[in-house]
Symmetry: C2
Subunit: 130 residues, 2 copies
């Protein structure tokens, strides 16, 4: 892949950048994951969010297990070139592996993290039982 | 600082987590910076965004030079505990050092990054000439 726009991204020492997924309609910040060059290239090409799973060391096509794919409406880059922002349509309205709309469901209140979002679908139902 | 809620954050090997600042009213994602334990503690205590400047290796009280402080309305943590999301009121309506509202002013269009936001105030005017 020799696309010049990919060279303008400032990949870190592991060849990764953080990528924020934001709901294109509501503006809700859904999740943050990581992308390598290949993930960002495929995301741009297919308009489906593809990340790099650091725990599994492989491309992670968001929704490949859960069905909760992300249709990418916009790809944005910050001033330093080291963070990507995706504006997405979130399939199923669930981005988080806990079955919540967003991964940012804990809010700091009086010195404690308080859960502020309901579980919409039980994760066992999303991922199946093994 | 022995606050338990700070222990629930999964600091990386450098003792940092990425922190997203989002406009509390419009939902616009403004910027991403880094926080260490001290920065997050002070942010929570003062309700002003404080980051850790990796380039200067010191606390960076957002707006200390530019005046573009961030008044923090909510502090959120993601499911993995390794990303913080701040909902803020952005003083001056300018979060980016380039004088733009948001750092995410480049949009991918037909294989090129295109600038999508105007410079609201010339950075030389914000930071002064040395």
């Amino acid at each position: 892949m020799s696309a010049g726009w990919l060279d303008e991204v400032r990949w870190d020492e592991h060849g990764l950048v953080p990528a924020i997924a934001q709901d294109a309609a509501s503006g809700q910040v859904l999740m943050v994951a990581w992308m390598n060059r290949e993930a960002l290239a495929e995301t741009a090409q297919t308009a489906r969010a593809v990340y790099w799973s650091r725990s599994r060391s492989r491309l992670w096509r968001k929704g490949e297990e859960s069905g909760h794919t992300q249709s990418v409406k916009e790809v944005l880059l910050d001033c330093d070139g080291d963070v990507v922002l995706l504006k997405v349509d979130q399939a199923g309205g669930i981005a988080c592996h806990t079955g919540r709309a967003s991964c940012f469901f804990r809010k700091l209140e009086a010195g404690a993290w308080v859960v502020t979002q309901p579980v919409l679908v039980d994760p066992e139902q999303i991922y199946g039982k093994s």
